[in-house]
Assembly symmetry: C2
Homo-oligomer: 129 residues x 2
DNA sequence: GTTGACCTTCCAGTGCAGGGGAAGGTCAAC
DNA sequence: GTTGACCTTCCCCTGCACTGGAAGGTCAAC
């Protein structure tokens, strides 16, 4: 199948597929006589995996690591577990810091509520932020 | 005071101050005869405001909006309230989506825990992600 | 008069994941 | 035989907030 067909089947664009190939996430595929990329449906699970990885918040570089391990003939389980652990730790830290920020901004907003323009002094641009 | 001195007083770099000026967050200041920027300490509250805004997660473009209102001689209170409201809504949405993602990844991680390499099938690259 | 720290402008690059568009080749249908 | 959809490579652009570095000017101290 040609690149546009594969793109549609995978829910992405031809541009993106060429980009993945350039980045090493997709193997270089065969070509037709006229130079068109010629894919089989066998690439679809790989593209699915890339999408699942992205949905989980992994970077293409991290996804490529897993694909490389797989392409070397090894099971990537251990590495995937490490990635998931790291991602969980990152998410927890991120959620904690956003929650703290949410509280701070909530405070600012409550203080700004009672304020009127006449209370406003210019010396700090805005005292409610 | 010269730019390096101001940068140190404000806890930033001369590069950043020039960048802020170019972006319109700092007014163009006077120059010495030799062409050096010449600042007064009066810019410090403005830089403080920029830092507070950044700490609250606002972009420089948003911070500039507030500064522009202030520079026009108006009180930015109303606009700041709107910005805070928007930021709160964004934060809530972000926290919700990260929390949902955290649950999903937690599930994946638990499923991967019982897995061993021998259970691993190559057809989807990794069944635990 | 020279060293070294500071300043000036300008250009380019960082990371991330592509998107836009030019210039040209190919293919199937009409 | 021509139209239109598709493909190829190529290079630049996006947003965000800077950062690095080159080439040159300035200033105070020694």
């Amino acid at each position: 199948m040609r690149i546009g067909e594969l793109a549609q089947a995978a829910g992405t664009t031809a541009k993106t597929l060429r980009f993945y190939e350039e980045r090493g996430l997709l193997p270089e595929t065969g070509r037709t006589l006229s130079g068109y990329r010629d894919y089989t449906r066998g690439v679809l699970p790989r593209l699915d995996f890339i999408h699942r990885g992205q949905a989980a918040g992994f970077t293409l570089a991290q996804i490529k690591q897993v694909l490389d391990i797989r392409d070397d003939g090894h099971a990537p389980c251990t590495h995937v577990r490490d990635l998931l652990d790291q991602r969980l730790a990152d998410l927890d830290a991120q959620i904690r810091s956003l929650t703290a920020l949410r509280a701070t901004i909530g405070d600012l907003r409550r203080r700004a509520d009672v304020a009127t323009d006449s209370h406003c002094r210019a010396d700090s641009v805005c005292q409610y932020l």
